[in-house]
């Protein structure tokens, strides 16, 4: 079954796409200084995962809907995470008047 993968071209494309997306997200998460941006980049990474999941489902386990279900879960959870994240960002903006991550280094060493 796994060998059948290598025949199909599609999966590779999907994987490359997802990996690129993941890389972009990762870069953003490391490089961006704005908390919101970082949050969004993390979302990108999660979406990369989703692409993976759906693609694998299509090519690896076409009969069971494991991937799709999983993807839905991921989306839901991500939503929750973002919700919490934004709330926190607001809270910290209230009390530091900044969302620049570099300002948040009271906790160190």
């Amino acid at each position: 079954m796994i060998n059948s993968l290598s025949l199909s071209i599609g999966i590779t494309h999907f994987l490359v796409l997802s990996s690129l997306l993941f890389g972009i997200g990762l870069f953003g998460a490391l490089a961006k200084r704005n908390a919101v941006m970082v949050l969004i980049c993390i979302e990108l990474m999660l979406n990369a995962v989703n692409i993976n999941l759906v693609a694998f489902n299509k090519f690896v386990t076409p009969l069971a809907f494991i991937g799709q279900i999983w993807a839905i879960f991921v989306i839901t959870v991500a939503a929750a995470e973002v919700g919490v994240g934004l709330a926190i960002i607001i809270a910290i903006y209230r009390n530091r008047l900044s969302v620049e991550l570099d300002d948040f280094d009271w906790l160190k060493w």
Partner: protein
Amino acid sequence: MVEFSMTHAWLVPLLPFLAFAVIVFLTRPWKMLSALVSVGAMAAGFVISAYAAYGVFTSHSLIEKSLEYSVRWFSMPGLNIDVGVKLDPTSAMMLFMVTLVASLIQIYSIGYMRGEKGFSTFFAYMSLFGASMLLLVISSNLLEMFVAWEGVGLCSYLLIGFYNHKISAREAAKKAFVTCRIADFGLLLGMLALQIIFGTLNITELGEKIANFELYTNAATLTLVAVLVFLGPIGKSGQFPLHVWLPDAMEGPTPVSALIHAATMVVAGVYLVGRMLFMFLEVPEAQQLVAVTGAFTALFAASIALTQREIKRILAYSTISQLGYMMLALGVGSLTASMFHLWTHAFFKALMFLAAGSVLTALHHKADIWEMGGLIKKMPVTGATFAVGGLAIAGIPPFAGFWSKDEILSLTLSGGHPVLFFMAALTAFLTAFYMWRLIFLAFFGKEKPENHPQESPPVMTVPLLILAFLSLVGGLVGTPWFPFWGEWIRFGEFHHAAPDYTVMILSVILGVIGIGLAYKMYVKDVSAEQRLAERFRPVYTLLYNKYYIDEIYMWFNHTLVDGAAKAMYLFDIYVVDGIFINGIGAITRDTGSALRVFQTGRLQNYALVFFLGVLAVAVILAITGPAPAGLVWGGVR
């Protein structure tokens, strides 16, 4: 009673020991009571040992085969130590002599120590001292003997340091103990070797086994062992070069000096060598060493005594020199002679010390003989008895010293040691000279006005008289015509040597000349010594400063020993501790602080580290993990 005393000889050391305990724990507050307890115990011991001695000296069987009985002290596979009693003429004689002299000295001390602080304590120590010595005398086992040996050392430490508020006394005590300790190191090694080679430390068994030692070891080893054992006596009996502690032992109260020098401590060494004589006779080199050491010490000490000024110091050196005689006798293989001299010496030396003591009390502890003079008039008994002692040590017949010294001399000559004989003879001359120098300066000549001497009370003079009597007749038990002594106290066959008149006359002449010379120099014209001293200044100073041996030791001790100590200590602080321990600790702590810096508090640095971590893990897995080849072919199949 005789039977009882012989089978209960262990009571003799036990009684004084009990006296010690009683005084320390019960009667310390009541001075006289303590003194009585102490004297009583010693006297009782004397009675018992007298009976025992009687018993021994009437049963010939004991000469060859001593009476022994013992109990287990401790034991384990391969090591059995029994403590017990070994009763033969030698030990019986020692018991008798020690208890006798010790009792007399203790009686004397009642007078001498009157009003001293720590009167009771003094008697407690004296009892312990006596106990240890007596145990040493009767012990049947080397380890037992060693215990007593160290016990004697301890008591000497305590008694020499009796006036320990004086720096000098304190140092003297320390010196005595440490010096003996150095010697005991050798003795200990010797004992270890004996135990390991022969599997026993029982003297009798050792005697049998060493008689044919080839079964166990070779001669060289045995010689080494013998030398090691001999180290002990060198220290205890103040032989050269470990004699240094003995003169300083003067710091103790005079009765202590008497006890140490006459009856107990210093003769322990001689006695030990006598006990182990069978070993020394097996290995001639060792025996030679004993003889030479003895002779040299005798001469050496006598030469120092010539120039000393303190009365007790002179006596001390004379003791060393006399001990040299005894060692010499053993060295030439005669137990008889050495024990004989030990016996006579005990009396006249105790006598002289006690007399000196009474002089010192009379002069309020002014010790310089040049500041005395004419004491005989005010202190007839003391003076007279001292003179008796002087005659005895000078070897004037019929005083005790003559017979024993003469026997040693003749034996040395007949034993074929002309050099040693010469040294011994010379010593005899010197002895007579310096001893009478002392007597003339102290008791004759003109009185010094600043002195107000008075004769001591009977409690002190009576012992003097008794001892004087003994020093007069004590030698008669062993005259060439009546060799009672040699018949009983001997090692090996008894052979009655015909009296050697040449030696006899020679020694008498030497003695007389010595006395005469002393008379000429110190009574006729008193300035003679100064003139001689002027002429031979270097020699005089050398002698006066005891050949600077103390200084050499001091230097050694302070430079080398303390230096090494300091070095080790610094090494410990700065290397073992400083570099290793604290170093490691510091490294740990600093690493912690260094790593801490990575925790910048910047969220994204954390994220970065996180991903570096992912890479690291990947790499580790690629190295250690499954199918590295997989990486080469890469990609998804």
